[in-house]
Every structure is written in C-alpha cells, then in structure tokens.
Symmetry: C2
Subunit: 267 residues, 2 copies
C-alpha cells in the first residue's frame, strides 16, 4: 500500500518503547543504507513514542556502523517532556551492532508560532526542466545507488560537472527533489531529504561515498506540497573530514529545514 | 591552582562511568549556567571515559532544563569504539532533573591528518584594540552575566550597536575571545567558546537571553595559543526559534571549530 518511502520506513511496536523495522535495500547508496532513510525510520519510532508531539524539531544522530538491508530494532527512551517540546533518544541496532545513536526534540509543528523573519533566500537555480536528471548519471554510479530510482532528482548543471569529470570545485551541489512516486514532503521526510543528494565532495573532484559521522537536522516548518529545493555546501575540508551544510526550501520558498553534518572524506 | 575554567569544570570519578562536578555560579549568564560551560564539564567526564581518544571531534547536546550552581552528576556510556574514533553519550543530572543529554565522537586530534583544504576565510574585523570590551556593556547586562568577568571579549563595533539600542539588524555578532586569566584554548575549551558570546538576537533588536534547545559543535583542530576570532550569525528566524551558526578561527587563522544551535527566541 501507499508510497515507497512510507512502506519502507514502517515500524512495528514491540512494547517496552522498542520498535522493529525491515530496512529495505531500495535505499542503498554506495554500499550502505542512506543515513537520511535511517533517520526517517527512527522518526517513525519516535513519533509512535511521542504521540502528542508528533513532529521532529531537531534531530541529532551519530552514525557508528553501517546498517544494511534486513531487520533492525529501535530502542526509544523519553528523556523529558513538558510544555510544547519532548526530547527522546533512539538507538538503531542491527545484528547486535549499535549503528545509530539519535536524540531528538519533538513538538507539534502545526501549533508552532507562524512568525517568519528569515533573512536567507533560496539560491539561484535553473527551473526544474533545465536541470539534469539523475537518470543521466553514469551507469556505474546508478548501479551503486538503487536509492536514486526512488527519487526524482534534478541537479543544477552548474554543480554537476563531476558527472563528466569536470567538477566545479565550488563545494556545492544543489537541485530539485521529490519522491519518484510523488509522495509529498512532510516534517519526517525532510529528515531524509537533508541527506539525499550526492556528497558535495563530488563537486570537489573527490569521487566515492563519504560516510557521515554525525548529522543534526532542524525541521522548521511543515513543507508545502511540491518540489523541494535542496542546497548542500561545504566550507571546511581538513583533517580527513568535511562539514556539509544543507538548506531546504519548499515550493512556497520557505526555508523548511537546515542540517549540518560531519563526514569522512572519501579515500 | 590553575585557571578558572579548569578549576570550575573539574569532575570526580565516582566509578561505574559516573562523575560528579561542582557547577560554579561564575558561569551564570541571564539566570542560567552557560551551555558551553556545561559542555566543557561533560567533556571532562568524557575525556576520562575515553583516555585513548581524548579530544572531542563532534558533540551534540540537547538542553532540556536549566542547570544552576551546585553539584551535578554526569553519567557516561561508551556506545562504540574502534579505529580512530569512539562515540559516547553523557547525561548531566542535577537534583534528579535531566538537564543535558549529549552524544560525542572522540578522537586523538594530534594524530589526525594534517591536510587542510578549507574554503572559508576569517571574517573582516577590526584589530583587538579597536573592538569594544565587554566591560563597556550596560551595568544591567553585566550584573546578569557574571560569566563575562571570566572572559576577555572584544566585540566588533559594527555589530555591537545593540548596547546603545542601535542594533545593526544583520543577525551577526563577532569578536575576539580569550579567557581573562589567559588560559590558552584547547579542543575542550572550544566547546565552551562556541556558546560564549551574546546571542545574535541582540543584534536583531531582541534583548533577553535565548535558551539553547540543541547545539552541535565540530572541533576540527587543536587551536594555537592566543586570541580566538568568534563569529555568530543567524539566517533563519521563524516559529519562535532561530538557528545560530558559529565559526571559530585561531590565531593562525585556521577554522578550528564550527557549531550550529537551535534556540528559542527571547520572549
């Protein structure tokens, strides 16, 4: 039933604040399951554990071991609730390995103040039809990334030269994103969207996947239906690691999510 | 003995991966203990729990309740270690209240790769002697912030107009920072420094302290001795919350730390 993203991120309540999930190989990328997909699964467990405050406001996650296709268990714990926010922790365990440790503050996005005084504006980018579909990616890249089949991703050609060995070396990747089956975005899917594009290191001429060490995402509004505009940029590449910031604007041009991750440089 | 920062952030090993600390009122600001000070205390517990990997690489923290002067307990847990990194969690508990939940990835900063390919450069700022000392802050502000006595903080006058009710409304605060007693910076004190300046909301014409909901800090290098150049900026003010990014450059003009926090707007 329903959309791929929802079907593949379902959790089953096992009682005692513990949930199980069947992680789907459809979200593999570069040999491991996409980190944002794992956050979306964790978010289903946390939403079940926090029914009165169903939306992620901020989630921080440390990725300690690669998760792969198959069963996983998510242990949740309510750390503190009161007022408009609740803070919970979650551990994603697979085959006795602690893969992800996440902590999240949840709230009710529909009840948040509607004031907006944001200074940031969306980046300049060509319209969807003038951007490059991921279907044009090199076959080697696509076969290593079944997740791409689940997305309709249109990359800004200014920062997609890496696909023909001409990276811009700006440390930027940006594009339009939606699910291939037209599932509309919501607060939970934004946790996936902040980690869905190729790593900005592609644009620095460093092919290869970049394992996330830690990622923190802020979800700042319920996104409007339609395309998301996703921009990734890095400013600090050093010591074998790089920081990658992500901004996401919805179809109303509102900045609905921001994230920052620390990742290892590809070898 | 020693410096104020070290003396006030000491922990005592109580066994069973649990530590106690005497939180000092010297780091109060706006009625609560500074969040960065709490991270520095937690970092002492984590360093004791991770002797082979003594430096924070990335720490994420959710602030759930205000901590105040007095005894606190830090429970630590090793989540995963192996290779060059270890990931640990810590809970700071005071009077049976869970104040802070932190997770951190630790490593050995001295053993990290020495490559640097950072694109970011330090911001333009007048020299130290042309900046404004926090000693010039309004008496009402200073009395609410005993922490300022422990710092030598020189604010860029371009973004300090709020002290005379003329905020620049840029959403920026930047300045030179060192400890008043000349304790030199290290990887642990950077966790304090990312949260030491007044909130950027001062520069937006919003006086009042802004409680941090969540903060993630990346520590990217061992800082050189001398002044730190600290820049805070916000781009997204909405829904009663704002994001605040911090960059810290050391005296060699290297970008040694970055952080992002989500905080509540002052009422």
């Amino acid at each position: 039933m329903g959309f791929e993203f929802d079907r593949d991120s379902e959790v089953v309540d096992n009682g005692a604040s513990t949930y199980s999930a069947q992680l789907s190989g459809g979200w593999l990328i570069g040999g491991g399951l996409n980190g944002g997909y794992q956050l979306a699964v964790i978010a289903n467990a946390l939403r079940a554990a926090s029914p009165d405050r169903p939306d992620p406001v901020v989630m921080s996650a440390h990725f300690m071991a690669a998760a792969t296709e198959g069963e996983a268990t998510i242990h949740t714990r309510m750390l503190r609730e009161g007022g408009r926010l609740a803070t919970l922790s979650a551990e994603l365990i697979q085959n006795d390995t602690h893969c992800v440790s996440a902590t999240a503050t949840y709230g009710d996005a529909a009840a948040m103040s509607t004031d907006v005084a944001t200074m940031a504006g969306p980046p300049d980018i060509p319209p969807v039809d003038a951007c490059l579909s991921a279907e044009l990616a090199p076959p080697g890249l696509r076969s290593a990334a079944p997740m791409l089949e689940r997305l309709d991703l249109r990359l800004d050609p200014s920062y997609a030269g890496w696909a023909r060995d001409q990276p811009s070396r700006s440390g930027v990747i940006q594009g339009w994103l939606r699910f291939a089956d037209r599932r509309e975005p919501d607060t939970r899917s934004l946790l996936f969207a902040v980690d869905a594009l190729p790593p900005v290191t592609f644009d620095l001429g460093l092919p290869g996947w970049a394992p996330t060490i830690q990622l923190t995402a802020h979800v700042r509004a319920i996104p409007e239906p339609g395309w998301l505009l996703v921009r990734h940029a890095t400013r600090n590449v050093a010591g074998g690691m790089f920081e990658e910031d992500c901004d996401i604007w919805d179809s109303s041009r509102r900045l609905v999510a921001q994230s920052r991750q620390l990742a290892r440089l590809p070898r």
